[in-house]
């Protein structure tokens, strides 16, 4: 009993001495910082590890698991989108509706012109630094960068869908002669096309200024497309052509999304 007590006293003394020593030399030890490897080197390590990841037993189950993770993450991303994104898009609906209702602009041309703008604006959100803020940092402990990026793209795409359906339905209520199917086709085609281009773009370039360039290019193109004679030509094109173009763009988007998910983003920049 006495021996045990002595041992306990000795342990307590050592604990105090350790604490004292730590305090004594702590400020000096703090100077021993570490120069960490760069992102490229970390990616090299991750790539070296990939062959050792256990082989998936069921491919479809893994795909489903990945999609579930992205959808879950997308739900959280809604709350992290900046207020500027929502305000800008609110103004966009107002501009599209007032363009058609007050200025008597062609509804099909208007829908075609505005369809990709939400996506282009959303790219700013997608390209924001992934380490901006604790919330994003916390997420990076649960999801990898590809998952975060694809989930943001899902939010942007989903929001575009809602916003354009709203515009289409609102215009449909005011103009009985409007063909809803035609409106949807005029929206879906540029939207899928721009979505495919966006996925290609975000996997290769991460500069925000390039988005401004993209926006200017699209506004110039849409300015040209909104000319009456061009609209007439576009409207005379067979619906099959729009459907085919949309299908091709959709397949490209899906292919690119899977590619980003599997290979990563910086990987492509470096190779």
């Amino acid at each position: 009993m006495k021996k045990r007590k002595l041992h306990h006293t000795f342990d307590k003394n050592v604990d105090h001495q350790i604490e004292d020593l730590e305090q004594e030399i702590g400020s000096l030890l703090d100077e021993y910082d570490v120069e960490y490897p760069g992102e490229e080197q970390i990616i090299m390590t991750i790539d070296a590890m990939k062959p050792y990841v256990p082989v998936r037993k069921n491919k479809w189950r893994t795909v489903l698991r990945g999609m579930t993770a992205i959808t879950k993450q997308a739900y959280q991303e809604i709350f992290y989108m900046s207020s500027l994104f929502w305000i800008a898009n609110g103004l966009l609906i107002a501009a599209a509706l007032s363009g058609v209702l007050l200025m008597k602009a062609d509804p099909y041309a208007m829908v075609m012109m505005f369809a990709p703008i939400t996506t282009i604006m959303g790219l700013i959100e997608v390209l924001k630094s992934r380490n901006a803020g604790m919330a994003e940092l916390e997420m990076s402990y649960k999801y990898n960068f590809q998952e975060i990026m694809l989930s943001k793209m899902l939010v942007v795409g989903g929001f575009n869908l809602v916003i354009n359906l709203l515009i289409t339905l609102s215009l449909g209520m005011f103009y009985q002669e409007i063909l809803i199917a035609k409106m949807l086709l005029f929206w879906i085609t540029p939207f899928t096309f721009i979505a495919a281009l966006s996925l290609l773009f975000v996997s290769r370039y991460r500069q925000i200024y390039a988005i401004t360039a993209g926006m200017v290019i699209w506004l110039t193109v849409s300015g040209y497309l909104s000319q009456p004679q061009i609209i007439e030509k576009l409207e005379s094109l067979p619906a099959e052509l729009y459907v085919t173009a949309s299908a091709v763009a959709l397949i490209l988007s899906l292919f690119k999304a899977v590619h980003i998910y599997k290979r990563g983003v910086l990987y492509e920049v470096n190779h």
Binding site: I18, I46, N144, Q146
Partner: protein, 191 residues
């Protein structure tokens, strides 16, 4: 953290994304430990990579027995011990000694480099500690581990860890205080 166990489950199901998340989460911590243990950036990078490959190769043997981070650190500690005994280490340490000698030759260090000089002193002092003492000091001071956790990671008992810490920190205090006094003598102007 419960997320770690979830990520391990996903890795076992074949998710490379989960592997990437888990690696990124612990990469810097493990690199820092290895770097301070071996004192060389290139070697630390190679060893860190080998550690993570070992982790993924043995991931099936991790069965939520304890914290994932403790399991990871155990692998890191053992891998560094293996390296310490290898011939690779003996070759690299000779080169490091040479570099160290070159650094020490620069006796008149300007004031702005004083902090760098202190860092080098700490680095040298840490490298003079016996392996087990160094492990205990690094895990306690730089990785904020509790003594019980250090004992688990280094596969020893609490009293041994305390003794190693006590001796290790004591040696560092002596070495570093002497170093600082030498530095002060160097920078004190003569009248």
């Amino acid at each position: 953290m419960p997320e770690d166990e979830q990520l391990v489950k996903e890795i076992l199901a074949g998710s490379q994304a989960a592997m990437e998340v888990l690696t990124r989460k612990y990469y810097k911590q493990i690199f820092a430990y290895v770097y301070r243990k071996v004192g060389n950036k290139e070697t630390a990078y190679d060893l860190t990579q080998e550690i993570f490959i070992k982790v993924i190769q043995r991931i099936q043997s991790y069965s939520n027995k304890g914290k994932f981070s403790s399991w990871l650190y155990t692998i890191a500690v053992n891998h560094c011990r293996d390296y310490w005994r290898s011939s690779d280490f003996k070759q690299t340490s000779k080169l490091a000694e040479l570099n160290e000698a070159l650094v020490c030759d620069k006796s008149h260090v300007p004031y702005i480099f004083e902090r760098k000089e202190i860092r080098e002193q700490v680095k040298t002092a840490v490298s003079t500690l016996p392996e087990h003492q160094r492990e205990a000091v690094l895990l306690k001071y730089f990785h904020h581990m509790k003594i019980k956790e250090i004992a688990d990671v280094t596969e020893t008992n609490v009293s041994t860890v305390k003794s190693r810490l006590h001796q290790g920190l004591g040696k560092l205090a002596k070495l570093l205080k002497r170093g600082v006094e030498d530095e002060e003598e160097k920078t004190t102007p003569y009248f």
